[in-house]
Symmetry: D2
Subunit: 112 residues, 4 copies
């Protein structure tokens, strides 16, 4: 399934529940913050080593999947409401990043 | 382009810059927070009406595209590092939501 | 009670539970994100009018108090771990803002 | 200076700029997210060791002070707009935490 198809599925889901009036850009940006907060809570007390293998932990994995899904779903819904093509925007951003961050320079470039 | 192809492009971009050691789950979760913060800053002082048409504002639109792209790119990178299939996780979440939120009940369901 | 005294109380609380090794700057920044996410969830689906009187809602008020408290407590803990005097830093910031934002110009200044 | 006095100073600053109409609870929660995002960006690519001594880095310290101040200032403004006494709420929360988290049990309690 493409991201566009996922977006259409999520839109149909919202329309069937008459959530349109609540799915405003400001509300969806806030919902995205809430979900990133929940995702962060899964990782905040883990050591870097534990975090690196968190997805292999059978108790943690479903919660990670769930929170990553929630972040994606609100992001896709927000982009849909705003009329933004996420894949196109992301590719345009990588195009720009290829100029901004020349290959091979390590963290220096990351910190720009 | 599928989300999987975008993820592969983003992975190649990171590898060419030797960013692997910094692209740990905890760091990427933090980077996601940073980008959601930047996205939020674009909307925080807008009225609901202004926010609804923000994507039609020629000065604002490129910044919205840019921040939505950054959120998606770090999300895709994080899922890749963790070995999670985002599209699969998101569909599984909608499947569950179809049971959790019966259609037609408006905001009551949203607040669960 | 001053903020400094609250910080000392919070530090003693953490020390009694041997949480020092987990209260690193990165972990505490993440914990702050988690709490801001929980606070955001209380407001995200409210209309602006509902949000304006949310603190008068007897069901919502204890949850608002609770999340505002959690944000403050992690902020105070983080500043303590970093050795930053929050009141001093905040006053220095208002001093600078008095120069950056001349009085009387409304939202224009906000958007700087 | 007490937190209450800082809040009064911040309120006077906002009133002199006629920011009241924009300082709604939802907008201020979003502004808090934006500032936590900026704070997070200072720490996201640091190793745990670098983060532990970040406040001693003369280039980083003013930026840390600045972002911690911004988080506190929006938190204080939000609490003021909502009519919440932050110090009282935080003490009530520590009181509850003393029951929820018995001393001496390490990270187990943190993860509750």
């Amino acid at each position: 399934m493409t991201l566009e198809e996922l977006s259409a599925r999520q839109r149909a889901f919202s329309e069937a529940r008459a959530w349109g009036p609540w799915h405003t850009p400001k509300n969806l940006v806030m919902a995205l913050t809430g979900e990133v907060g929940e995702l962060t809570e899964l990782f905040q007390w883990l050591t870097p080593e534990e975090a690196a293998t968190a997805a292999e932990d059978p108790a943690l994995r479903p919660r990670i999947d769930d929170e990553l899904a929630d972040v994606l779903l609100y992001l896709v819904r927000l982009a849909d409401v705003l009329g933004v093509d996420l894949i196109e925007a992301a590719n345009a951003k990588i195009d720009r990043n290829e100029t901004r961050f020349p290959p091979g320079v390590g963290r220096t470039a990351l910190e720009k």
